[in-house]
């Protein structure tokens, strides 16, 4: 693994290696001294062209706990807003001696351009690009699911070495604009899970029929028929209902009635089914407070696992694998 650009690029073995490494990292995080010396002397740059304090902090914590130096570069108040291009920003950071670049960008494919255009020679980690991919989110979701669905027995609480074969996962919401949905469909498929996407037809992309998953417009029927092991509620932006925002659905109330995880639907889920959300949540729109705060919700746990997953990814890219020579 030279870069982490898309969940679709990961083989089953690579994905399991990352999840197993995540388990190791997570274990160290319950110790009193959380810091590991693995990346001492290396510099990780967080290049954020799009606001996301949550994701940036998660990557920052991950790098720091591996003893890397961290430079945060955010577009707000930087030269980017004055028209400096991604290319020039990348060249500047490369000249400053970055060893890895974590990039968040509103343009789909920007991390891919960064990794393949010759602007930088370091590993590139995609921290979310436009409507395309958010691979570390998919990895932390898979890690969380594996813990709950495949953990226990001789594989230990983290399900070491296991995939998600046969796990039934339902993803609900704005698939069209969601990099989380795309990344999850790719990774969960690779890990053997059966994925069903549920959304109003306006929030599904043309071409979704070619994805390795089932598609439904009906959440109640899907809960009844699929009997999911995990249900993931995607964030829906309220602006999407206005005609300026595309007019994707008539009103938040109607969306909530048809696709929100309310108390009734929560009760209809199998007892072991976990409730997931990548955050930040719109309580009362796609997820009720009752569901978000229920014992089966893994939403807070996902945040903690996010740090461990990002530690694993940075570790494997910068210190771990055999294919990362030259990255130092």
């Amino acid at each position: 693994m030279r870069h982490l650009l898309s969940a679709a690029d990961l083989s089953r073995a690579e994905a399991i290696e990352i999840l197993d490494t995540t388990a190791t990292m997570a274990a160290t995080q319950s110790r009193e001294i959380k810091k590991l010396p693995a990346l001492r002397g290396l510099t990780v740059v967080n290049l954020f062209f799009e606001d996301s304090t949550r994701t940036r902090i998660s990557f920052e914590a991950a790098a720091k706990r591996l003893s890397a130096d961290v430079i945060n570069f955010s577009a707000k108040g930087s030269s980017v807003s004055k028209g400096e291009s991604l290319k020039d920003t990348a060249l500047t950071l490369a000249a400053m001696g970055a060893d890895a670049v974590v990039i968040r960008h509103q343009a789909s494919g920007a991390p891919h351009r960064l990794a393949t255009s010759g602007w930088v020679r370091t590993p590139v980690v995609n921290a979310g690009d436009g409507m395309h991919q958010h691979p570390t989110q998919a990895l932390l979701d898979a890690f969380t699911m594996r813990r709950h669905l495949a953990g226990g027995g001789e594989a230990g609480p983290d399900g070491i070495g296991r995939d998600l074969a046969g796990a039934k996962v339902v993803i609900v919401g704005d698939v069209l604009h969601s990099r989380v949905a795309r990344s999850n469909v790719d990774l969960l498929h690779t890990l053997g899970a059966d994925v069903t996407l549920v959304a109003p037809p306006t929030l599904l992309p043309v071409g979704v029929h070619t994805w390795p998953c089932a598609v439904s417009y009906d959440l109640n029927a899907t809960i009844a028929d699929v009997r999911p092991d995990a249900i993931m509620m995607l964030r829906v932006q309220r602006e999407r209902m206005s005609s300026a925002g595309g007019g994707f659905f008539p009103s938040p109330m109607e969306y909530s009635r048809r696709y929100g995880l309310d108390g009734t639907r929560l009760a209809a889920l199998p007892e072991h089914c976990v409730v997931m959300h990548p955050g930040p949540m719109n309580r009362g729109l796609e997820i009720s407070a009752k569901a978000a705060d229920s014992p089966r919700s893994t939403i807070v746990e996902q945040v903690a696992n996010g740090v461990a997953v990002r530690m694993a990814v940075l570790y494997l890219l910068l210190a771990g694998g055999t294919e990362t020579e030259g990255s130092r």
Partner: protein, 446 residues
Amino acid sequence: MTTYLIRAASVLGGERSDLYLADGVIAALGADAADAATTARADGVDVVEIDASTLIALPGLVDLHTHLREPGREDAETVASGTRAAAVGGFTCVHAMANTDPVADTAGVVEQVWRLGEDAGWAQVRPVGAVTVGLRGEQLAELGAMADSAAAVRVFSDDGKCVDDPVLMRRALEYVKAFDGVVAQHAQEPRLTQGALMHEGVVSAELGLTGWPAVAEEAIVARDVLLAEHVGSRVHICHLSTAGSVDIVRWAKARGIDVTAEVTPHHLILTDEAVRGYDPQFKVNPPLRTAADVAAVRAGLADGTIDIVATDHAPHPDEDKDCEFAAAAMGMTGLETALSVVVAAMVDNPEYDFDWADVARTMSTTPAAIGRVAEQGRPLEVGEPANLVLVDPDATWTVDPAALRTASENTPFASDELPARVIATFWRGRATVLDGEPRARTDVRA
């Protein structure tokens, strides 16, 4: 003045003949050509002899859709650099699109562009006039003034923007009948394509790039052929790109509607799969479509549903392409690769019965007829204007963006090996290209 004796060229890929070019016309053909050259030489006239025994002679190519960028974006292309590239690509006439800065929406601007072309001396420049003032789609530009100007505009287009207001489109279709003009529509329903970056389909869904649905083109094509029928006008469809559009135009022609359509070389050979690497060199409008669409436009070109190939040559400076996909400009150069791409997609393709005479028809004769360019696209016969191109059908060449003569390097064919090479181009009897190299005019016009 230099004259040319072209030896044993295969005319339109058929029988071989000598051609003697003098005084701006084809002065003699066949056995008479050598005699005429001998006589001329005896009179002290300079005769350059060209061995064309492995070459094909076609009428000079005519492009109905070229962005020369001047005035306004001389950093991307000028009339001189663009027409020089055209000559290297085998063209003797190009239609310069109106989306310049200022927009070519007045007699003054179209005359300026026309004069720049005459002065540069590489190829005939036929300015396209804007349909609406400033391409804003609000009110008709002074189409009559442009038609009556020295530029004698006959093709009108808001290319880059669609004339989407149906009433305005109707008026334009009607109005240009007074001077035998034609409206060339850039068919793109604007509301269906807001923020669109690539063809909407399987690939856009995966890449997370906002889609440009085929229906946004087809809806306008369908509307406009019906409008043309209603008012009894002719209409031309720019860069038709979808299978559905081919069907609609085929239906319209069967119904007797006076519609013509063009396809670009890139839509004949590239698909949306090329966008997977997020390389902005493949960002173009209309976008690259699916393999099924490519098959449909090829079939449409072969059966005459699509009348012509037009390049949509759209040069952009590096900084507009060396960036993330969403930020990049749309468009690709095409003048120097067009003929080779058509050969690769159609002539060398055993699936289609498409020969060199079809190349002449779709890249010279018919575009000249649509643009009402009397002196272009003529048969290679005695007394006709000496506008022709000699092509080596067996040569191959590798595209080097920096070596192309256009002022910009945004070709999607970088490093590709393409068939067929332009060896010589003659415009008004003068060699603008010899041995594959452009030859600047030495006799400066007074």
